[in-house]
Every structure is written in structure tokens, then in C-alpha cells.
């Protein structure tokens, strides 16, 4: 019974964190783009004259989405049309089940692992979730009964095919170096030090893998420069026939995916919840100084470290969107198959060679 309770609490905390951050990102995207584009940005919504930098727009947007008419076109496959956004949203959220937010929390003689699911094949679980997520947009495109939406859905599936393989292969190096598919183990091993000073983060051991993963990851979030399934100036996108909260779910899915990719980047390449030189009993610096901390402070610091890393990558992914034009269908596939995939394979071979030489 207690186990189930703990699991439920963990799910609630993670969902709350992700959804709130996604909502905040809708605001951040508007404000950040405003800064980049030399304008003011959303600031009209106010409660009793209080504007709060436009933060109320989050609530205003949600309210608008929820109260709008839910229009389903006559030509649509009603059931699938209705289910598609939920498929997208559900599978995007599912990926967070295996992200480690900390090692273990010890409360009253009980050891609670700080992740929803302790899975020894964690990363494969995320791959599966993201692969299923794309069905949402493909089905939405197909079931809308509109040519534009169909094109969008087609583009979505092609993009997934072209990038998922490169995406997966770009991570093989990480698993070779850290010798595990379990995300928590990968994070724990990134706590080691190289030559006694440098944290053994993924970015240090796998710089090329990081770049490949970042590029392919951006393609998977379906954001500029890879926003072809949307392509708002060409085909408007797979969700062209959606309105109200169903559209809102697609919209949120984009942000949830952004957070998921950011979380993966942080976990796999930037040490996850690890802070440099922070051991379970406090800081232990390479020059000999120590600063002991109690267990709860360490867990808290680690959680904050992860959140900050995630927020940093969210910022990066948002900034890219406002800087680049969009790829074309064929160029996108060229990049995926002819550049990223061979590089990812080369990265695996190189990693193998180096590992063998070190041994």
C-alpha cells in the first residue's frame, strides 16, 4: 500500500513539474522571441491591474482553448480525429517515467529511488514512447480529411523515420562509455572524475555524440528548423483541422517534447542531477577542501541542478527556433540519412576504438 502511495506521489510530482514547465514555456517562448525580435511581447492579460510580465497569459490561453468550439470537419474520421491529440500527449509524457530526478531519498529507514520507474532498459523505453508519439500527428493528419493535414502527417512520419535511427545510434557511444542502458546508472557514472579534476560527463566523453543527439533531438521536437510537419507558411500542418483544447494538446505536446529532449540532454550529456564534486555526503573538491552537507540538502541540490540544466536546454531550443529558416522536405532527409546517420556510425566506431585502446 505504501509502495503504491509513494509511486502515486512521484507521478504527481513529475507530471506537475513537466506540465507546469510546459505552460511556462509557452510564456517563455513568447517573451523570449519578443526580446530577440526587438518588441515587447505578451503583456495584455491582467488581474486587478497586475500584469506580472504577461504571466497571466498562460491562464488566459488555457481558458480560451478550453472554451473554444471543438470543431470536427465533416470529412474527418471522428474517432481517430478525437483520439490523435491524446495519443501524442500521452506518449510524450510517458517518456518522463524513467528520467532520474535524483539518486535515492532516505526517509525513515526507507529508500525511495527518485524516478517513477526503475528500468534497466530506460532509454529504450523513451525511444518507444517517442516513436509512438509520432502516431498522434500521423493519425491526426490522416483522419482530418484535408490535403494539407495529410501532407503534414506524411512529413511527420518521414521526419521520424529519417531521424530516429540517427538519434538512437548517436547514443550508442554513451552506452559504450558508461556500460549501461539504465539512465540512473549512466548518471551515477558521470559523477566520476577524469584525471581527478574533470567530471566525466557525456559532453566530455562524447562531444560528437552530443551534437548529433542535439540536432536529431531538435528534429524530433518538430520545431524550427525542422518544423516541416507544421510548416505553417506552406501547409499549416497536421493539426490544421483542430481547434480548442485538442489543438492545445498538440501545442503542449511540442513543449513537453522540448522538455523531454532537454531532460535527456541533461541526463545523458551533462551529468543529470550530478553537480561537480558533490558526493552523497557533501562537496569534496579536487584540491582537498571538503564541505559536508546532510542527505536532504544533497538531494535538494541535485534536483535543483537537474532543473537548471533542463531549463537551460529549453532556452537553447527556444532560441534556435527564432534564428533559423526551415529546411525543405528533401534537404531534411538528406541531412538525416547522409550526414547525421553516417556521423553517428563513425562516432560509434571511434568510441569503440578509443575504449579498446584504453583497455
Amino acid at each position: 500500500m505504501a509502495e503504491a502511495g509513494i509511486a502515486l506521489i512521484k507521478i504527481a510530482v513529475v507530471l506537475g513539474f513537466v506540465l507546469n514547465l510546459a505552460a511556462l514555456l509557452t510564456w517563455a517562448e513568447r517573451k523570449q522571441s519578443a526580446v530577440i525580435q526587438d518588441r515587447i511581447g505578451a503583456n495584455r492579460a491582467s488581474v486587478f491591474g497586475l500584469r506580472l510580465f504577461g504571466l497571466f497569459h498562460i491562464a488566459a490561453d488555457a481558458l480560451k482553448m478550453l472554451t473554444k468550439e471543438d470543431h470536427v470537419p465533416q470529412t474527418a474520421e471522428k474517432f481517430i480525429h478525437g483520439a490523435a491529440p491524446f495519443i501524442s500527449f500521452f506518449f510524450a509524457l510517458m517518456g518522463f517515467a524513467v528520467i532520474p530526478f535524483g539518486d535515492v531519498l532516505r526517509v525513515g529507514g526507507r529508500e525511495i529511488p527518485l524516478r517513477i520507474l526503475d528500468l534497466n532498459i530506460g532509454i529504450l523505453f523513451i525511444f518507444a514512447a517517442i516513436a509512438l508519439e509520432i502516431y498522434g500527428s500521423v493519425l491526426a493528419g490522416w483522419s482530418s480529411g484535408s490535403h494539407y493535414a495529410t501532407l503534414g502527417g506524411m512529413r511527420g512520419s518521414v521526419q521520424m523515420f529519417s531521424y530516429e535511427i540517427a538519434w538512437g545510434v548517436s547514443l550508442l557511444g554513451i552506452f559504450m562509455v558508461y556500460d549501461s542502458l539504465d539512465l540512473n546508472r549512466v548518471v551515477l557514472r558521470q559523477g566520476d572524475l577524469l584525471w581527478g579534476v574533470l567530471p566525466k560527463w557525456g559532453i566530455v566523453t562524447q562531444p560528437l555524440g552530443f551534437l548529433l543527439f542535439l540536432a536529431a533531438g531538435m528534429a524530433i521536437t518538430k520545431r524550427v528548423p525542422f518544423d516541416l510537419p507544421e510548416g505553417e507558411s506552406e501547409i499549416i500542418g497536421y493539426f490544421v483541422e483542430y481547434s480548442g483544447m485538442k489543438f492545445g494538446l498538440f501545442f503542449l505536446t511540442d513543449f513537453v517534447l522540448t522538455i523531454l529532449i532537454s531532460a535527456l540532454l541533461a541526463t545523458l550529456f551533462f551529468g543529470g542531477y550530478q553537480l561537480p564534486y558533490l558526493e552523497p555526503d557533501g562537496f569534496r573538491f579536487p584540491w582537498g577542501a571538503t564541505w559536508s552537507l546532510d542527505h536532504y540538502t544533497v538531494v535538494f541540490l541535485q534536483f535543483v541542478a537537474l532543473v537548471l540544466k533542463i531549463v537551460f536546454f529549453c532556452w537553447l531550443l527556444l532560441a534556435v527556433r527564432w534564428t533559423y529558416p526551415r529546411f525543405r522536405y528533401d534537404q531534411l532527409m538528406d541531412l538525416g540519412w547522409k550526414v547525421l546517420f553516417p556521423l553517428a556510425v563513425a562516432n560509434v566506431i571511434l568510441t569503440g576504438l578509443v575504449l579498446t585502446l584504453i583497455e
Binding site: 522571441s33 530577440i36 525580435q37 526587438d38 518588441r39 490535403h147 494539407y148 495529410t150 501532407l151 506524411m154 512529413r155 524550427v224 528548423p225 518544423d227 516541416l228 510548416g231 505553417e232 507558411s233 506552406e234 501547409i235 499549416i236 527556433r321 527564432w322 534564428t323 533559423y324 529558416p325 526551415r326 529546411f327 525543405r328 522536405y329 528533401d330 534537404q331
Partner: protein, 371 residues
Amino acid sequence: MAEETTILESSEMILNMGPQHPSTHGVLRVKLKLDGEKVLDAECIIGYLHRGMEKIGENRTYPKYAPYLDRMDYVAAVTNNLAFLEAVEKLLGLECPPRAKYARTMLAEFQRIASHLLWLATHALDIGAMTIFLYCFREREEILKLFEEIFGARLTCNAFRVGGLTEDLPAGWLEQAKAFTDIFPSRVDDYEGILTENRIWLQRTKEVGVISAANAIDIGLTGPALRASGVKWDIRKAMPYESYADMDFEVPVGTRGDTYDRYLVRMQEMRQANRIIRQCVEGLPGGDFKAKTPRVIKPPLGEVYHSIEGPKGEIGYYIVSDGSTIPYRVRVRPPSFMNLQALAQLARGHYVADVVALIGTLDIVLGEIDR
């Protein structure tokens, strides 16, 4: 050869792009025949914005017809107006005073910059670069403010009168214009910094929509679209009107005739236009701002064709006068209409995403096409 067999049945898809579409720049409708994403055939359907501009001309006196023309190419009202008034002046045998000529040249060049800025903004937006859109609108806003101070309107500003300007330039206006020319080249540097060397931008525009010089002339392209193909034809140089003969400026020319060259040519044109404005501001002569014109404009019997170099190409008017206060017939040669002819040809064999890039690169305004 063995008979081709396919497991899945594939068929062509007809995609109706427009008239309500974010990237057809108005109410253009393009019927695309698609094989997947490849365009097999494209057909432009126009006329959704037809207001009978030419027929209206047969029912209005010369000065009263001019404001209608602002609504043709509504992002380049000044040059639309200028071409018509010059045609009327030619019919009347009227010569403007030098101050009016300089002011007109300057304002026409301001309009060229404003029009090119709008083109760049929307063209980049179509290709997915959103930030440049707002940068361009920031500078365009400055120009529209300058227009507002002179004409009292920002977009459809009915700029001039037969024989010169409506009134003299307001006090302090020239300083503002000068301040704009000081800052504008660095802003163009900003735009180019975002796009010119950007790899995605290069991929999206190079080798897309190539028009050879001979083909461009056959289609009847004018303006930057023609010059990007390597044809050095600019009415400002070939048949100088207003005070262009006194101005020192270059005509940028492309070599490959693709979307990227058209982009480069227009960027250069903005810089050149800025140079011309600068020369006009500095060399603006004193004297009258309007020639002595009769109270009632009544051109003699005859006909005239007059064209100038608008931002989008050659904008010309053919006017037949029967000696009354109302034209017998007005015929417009709109650059957008001719330029749009290239689209169907260019789109064939490209992708859907290229179609919006091509519509952007041709720089069309539907108000002018449908009239």
C-alpha cells in the same frame, strides 16, 4: 521493359493553395498537381481582388483618379501614383520644378525601400525565418512615419499632384529623412547577417526557380526579377525620369537568376536607394514645389504610354485622352501581373515548400494583378 508494378496504389493529388493561404500574399490561388510533395503542374487563378480599376479611370477626372491607384500596389502607393501623374504631365506637356523632381525621386526611393522591406519580411517568413520579419517591419515603420508626416497617410498616401507636390516638405522632415539614411545601411547589414551566409537559407534559395535571361525577357519580367537573371535593364538609367539623371547610383545585377540572386539584387537595391535618398536630401534645390497648372486638368487629344521603375518592376500607364477632363481609356501595365506569369513555369519539378518561396521571390501584390 517489364511492366511497372506497385504494391500500393499511388495517385496524383490536387492541392488548392489559396485564395485563403498565409503565403500566397493576398488572394492568389494556385492549383497544384502533386506527386507526394513534388509539383507536377501549377496553375495560377487570379481575379479575387478585381475592382475594375481601369474602368473606374474612365469615369473620374485625372486628379480624382490618382487616389484609386494607391489601392493597386498598396505597398508601393507612391510609385503607382508617380507613374500615372508623370503620364498625365507628359500628355499635358508639363515640366515640374526641380524641387518637386528631387522630392519625388526621394520619396519614390523611400517607397522602394519600404516595398523591398515588406518583400524581405514576408519572403523570409515564408521560408520559416520569423525574426527577420519583425526587423524589417521596424524599419518600414520609420518610413511610414515619414510618409505620414508629408501625406497624412501611411499606406495609400496619394502622394503627389499633377505638376509637383501637394505642399512643400514639412519643417524638420529632411533631418529625419537624413537620420534614417544614416542608420539604414547598418540595418541592412543586420538582415544580411541573419540570412546571406545562413546555410539553411542558401539551401532553400540557391538553384531554386532559375530563370535564364532569355526566358526572363520572353515572360516579360521586369525589375529585380529580371536583373537577377543578368539583364541590366533599369528604366531609371535607360530613360531617366524625375531627377535620376543627376543621381549617382549603380544597378545591381545577378548572374544565375535563382531565388538567391533575386534576394541579393533586392538587398543591393535597398542600399542603392538609400544612396539616392541621401543625394536628394543633400542636393534638394529651393524654389517652387509645384508647376503652374491649370485649375482644370484637360489634356489635349492624344495618347501616351509612360512607365517608371517601380519597386517590383516596370509600372506603366497607357492613357487615351479625348480632350475632356476624363480619360477615354486607361490601361495599366502592372509589374506583378507579368512577374506572376513565371510562377507556373518555375514551380514545375520543385517541392511544395518551394512554391511559397517562389511566390515570395517574385514579389507580387494581388491588388495590382487583379486591379
